[in-house]
Amino acid sequence: MVSLVRLLKVLSFLFLASGLNGCFEKLPMSTAHVVTEWGRQINHVYLITTVIVSLIFVAVAIPFCYAIWKFREKEGETRMPKQITGNHKLEIIWTLVPIVLLIFIFLPTLEVIMKRAEAPPEDSLVIEAIGHQWWWEFKYPSLGITTANEMFVPENTHITIKATSGDVIHAFWIPRWGGKIDTLPGIINQITYVTPSIEDAEKGDYYQGHCTELCGLSHARMRYEAVVLTKDRFQQWSKVAMQPPVIASTLEKKGQELFMSKTCFTCHAIEGTQANGKIGPNLTNFGNRRHLAAGTLNNTKDGLHTWLRDSVDSKPDYQTIKPGSLMVFGPNFELTEGDIKALTAYLQHSTAKTY
């Protein structure tokens, strides 16, 4: 019995410790580790609220547990409790105290809401974020750039995301940057950030984003990343981002020909080629992306092979990688292993840019 109690103690300690650790660990989508002003404003209110509700919980739980323990019926007890029907003084107190406590939550909340409603500065970098089933399109109207699933931004810069949708409702959310905004078809919602300072100037900082509104089958496979670069490197990136692919080998050449003949070009666009499709992600920068299929697979030879094979071989709605994906082909469509090799070379090397 004693050892059982000890075991329980150890277990509950582990549970608590790992719980707290889990909360404060720097996970890719942790809302506890925010890096922007907006995120910090939220967490300020969050902290106040957490403290207040925790205090209320303790203030309720202690007398409640005490009452259950103290006034439980003991063996053979016949005491008749006093028939108390109420106490107006007490009831007024526990109506007023919560109101006062709520004011302490309401006022900082109001402050943050009003601060967020301020108009963005003139020179804010505007990025259009368009949700699609199930990938993200990012357009930079002032720079003439269209890309997908990776949103490049310069550090310490005010940016304005104009969020909308190409089909159903999605939601734009980068947890470590603060609260989300819905992307609604037919409506443009705006959300602003001051981008965080850079930690890794060499590679750029990657912040995980995720769609958070049920948008159909592959809602779970609708991820993206915000990539923070130094201002200089962002400048360079914006110059090369829309450059056409450079063909360096015959394999890549074959890949390009396949891309233009195997119906890929009807849905995807690659700058400087006849591929001008608007249904799928723009692939001009494909070679630079870390992931493909909206954060589902690594953008490696294996990853692209898995993706193409699954898309060609399985029926829509029952694809294993991305169920319901629009990357579908007509009957009798074939892609040999050689084709995939050539396409991979073309997509991963010809479109990769240095910046």
């Binding site: 409790p81 028939q83 939550i105 159903v168 609604l184 049920l214």
Partner: protein
């Protein structure tokens, strides 16, 4: 004509019954069957999420599970289970012989049952609804959901909603008109008060969802485009309509459980409910404010700062009457002599779990915090504490408390207490870690997740907790069937309780009260048993009466016919090809049944 010659057993007697106690049993039994279905759906989701990138079920199945688990638990479990208590207890607690409209009562049950089957029929043809229990347009439009799944959802809900609407009018009229002599409004038991407010919420909010469902159905079949932005419609309109219904719905789910718990705590503490009149006012306040907070489900849609502020304030305000209730329950227990039974354990745990869920609710009443919580597992944790730890635990308490009255036998206490602890531990193990998952950014309704996000451990623990709860559910099923046949026989007043239903035998005779009661106090039965000092009084010998002189409505098969006609009519609406004929048959059945009903001798 009275129904003393009518059959008392057999299938036909159940199909044609208009007795509120038997209809309550039908409601309860169907709700528990749907509870099994909703539970299996939950277990399938948790099994899929036990490890990252799992392929236990497909994305399509998972989305159906998400949708139907929510829809089932809300519309086909908690609402009808509450409905079972409304049915059984309302006449007994107010000293009446039946509800105001007994055949209408039967109709609402059959409409509910057939509607529930229609909702679930999609599973049979592999087109189960998968657009979420909230069915956000425009995902549910024809363009994005071309199969029949969204039609099963919309029409199924339409039919189920009709059942609730009919029932709500019935109970509203019953409570206002059929109270026994002396029972003024402020002498009604707390459960009757929460029932009354629930009915008002029902008949004010259900028409909104009815309209919304008509609009989406018209969009899908006639291309009206209410929610299609391509032709000038608005997707936000759907959200407003849905939540104007959907938030009062939350209180429709929780208020009956609050009433049940108020009765349980008073009985098992041997004390009157603390601050009865304040409890009544706060119930009304919750009902009223419940209509002014719907847009807190829509903080992230871009409402603008002032609308957001209004809904933040209203949402925070609703915490005040709710808090008053919690303090009053604790004060009810304070100084009492609490008998620990399965019923009182469930009742006490309701207070604890509901408080917890209420407090996490205050956290995301603040719109900025909500923008980090919305559609993450934090919200899943929050509303399961309120609706599962709260409503469902309260309802289980009610089942254990009133089962002796319903069946004349006790549920087994040992099995009951094991089930309670499995539920408590399993429930907290499943939903407490979900707070962590939410803070770690795990979005809801995802059929899978990547292994590099750090969510593996908590998901694993959640799933194990869900399995524990499932074991508790199986124990309850065993307990139920065992106790119905072999349970210990219960006397008329097994818990030394306070309200009128305990003055009559267990199970109650068909006519409830031989002589219609007269009350002088709140908790009248208690005052008959004890004097002001708490000394037992001698109960007067029961008065003599002739059971055969009591008029009761006769059985009728028209309600089930009319319900079948309605469901046929609704289903025909969206069936391809021969749908029109199905609908016409449905309309014919409705007309014939209504005619037969109108000219039937009652």
């Amino acid at each position: 004509m009275s129904n003393h010659g009518a059959p008392k057993t057999g299938l036909w007697s159940w199909i044609t019954t208009v007795d509120h106690k038997r209809i309550a049993a039908l409601y309860g039994f169907s709700a528990l069957l749907f509870f099994v279905l909703g539970g299996v759906e939950a277990i399938m989701m948790r099994t899929q999420l036990i490890v990252p990138n799992n392929d236990f079920i497909t994305a399509r199945t998972f989305n159906s599970m998400v949708t139907m688990h929510g829809t089932t638990m809300i519309f086909l479990v908690v609402m009808p289970l509450s409905g079972a208590f409304f049915n059984f207890l309302t006449p007994l607690m107010i000293g009446a012989r039946d509800v105001a409209f007994p055949r209408l009562n039967a109709l609402s049950f059959w409409v509910f049952l057939f509607g529930g089957l229609l909702l679930n029929f999609g599973f049979v043809i592999n087109e189960a609804p998968r657009g979420g229990w909230f069915g956000y347009a425009n995902l549910t439009e024809l363009q994005y959901t071309p199969d029949l799944s969204a039609d099963f959802w919309a029409m199924g809900l339409q039919v189920v909603g009709l059942a609730s609407l009919i029932a709500s009018i019935n109970f509203f009229v019953t409570i206002l008109n059929m109270r026994c002599k002396g029972m003024t409004l402020l002498k009604m038991p707390m459960f009757i008060w929460t029932t009354l407010v629930t009915q008002v919420l029902l008949f004010l909010s259900l028409p909104v969802i009815t309209i919304a469902l008509v609009m989406i159905t018209f969009d899908r079949h006639f291309g009206t485009g209410f929610f299609n932005p391509g032709v000038g419609g608005s997707v936000v309109l759907w959200q407003h309509l849905f939540w104007v219904f959907g938030h009062p719905e939350v209180y429709i789910l929780i208020l009956p459980a609050m009433g049940i718990v108020s009765e349980i705590l008073a009985t098992f503490s041997r004390k009157p409910l603390f601050g009865y009149s304040v409890m009544v006012y706060s119930t009304c306040a919750i009902g009223f404010l419940g209509f002014a907070v719907w847009a807190h489900h829509m903080f992230t849609t871009g409402l603008g700062p002032w609308a957001t502020t209004f809904f933040v304030a209203a949402t925070m305000l609703i915490a005040v009457p709710t808090g008053v209730k919690i303090f009053n329950w604790i004060s009810t227990v304070w100084g009492g002599r609490i008998k620990i039974t399965t019923a009182s354990l469930f009742g006490l745990s309701f207070v604890a779990m509901f408080t917890f869920g209420g407090l996490s609710g205050i956290m995301h009443s603040s719109a900025p915090i909500d923008s980090q919580h919305q559609d993450t597992y934090f919200v899943v944790a929050h509303f399961h504490y309120v609706l599962y730890g709260g409503a469902v635990m309260g309802l289980f308490g009610g089942i254990f408390y009133w089962f002796p009255k319903i069946s004349g036998r006790f549920l087994n206490e040992t099995l009951g207490q094991i089930q309670f602890w499995l539920y408590m531990i399993g429930f907290n193990m499943t939903f407490f870690p979900m707070h962590f998952l939410g803070v770690q950014g795990m979005p809801r309704r995802n059929y899978t997740y990547a292994p590099d996000m750090g969510w593996d451990l908590w998901n694993f623990i959640c799933t194990i907790g869900a399995y524990m709860t499932a074991v508790g559910g199986i124990l309850f099923a065993i307990n139920l069937f065992y106790s119905l046949k072999k349970g210990e026989k219960a006397p008329a007043d097994p818990w030394d309780a306070r309200t009128l239903e305990w003055t009559i035998p267990s199970p109650p005779p068909e006519y409830n009260f031989g002589i219609e009661p007269t009350v002088t106090h709140l908790d009248d039965f208690w005052h008959r048993k004890y004097d002001e000092e708490g000394h037992k009084k001698q109960l007067p010998p029961p008065a003599k009466y002739d059971p055969h002189a009591i008029h009761l409505p006769g059985p009728s098969y028209w309600p089930i016919c009319l319900a079948a006609g309605l469901t046929c009519g609704a289903a025909g609406f969206f069936l391809k090809g021969f749908g029109l004929y199905v609908s016409l048959v449905g309309v014919a059945v409705i007309l014939i049944s209504a005619y037969g009903w109108a000219y039937e001798e009652a």
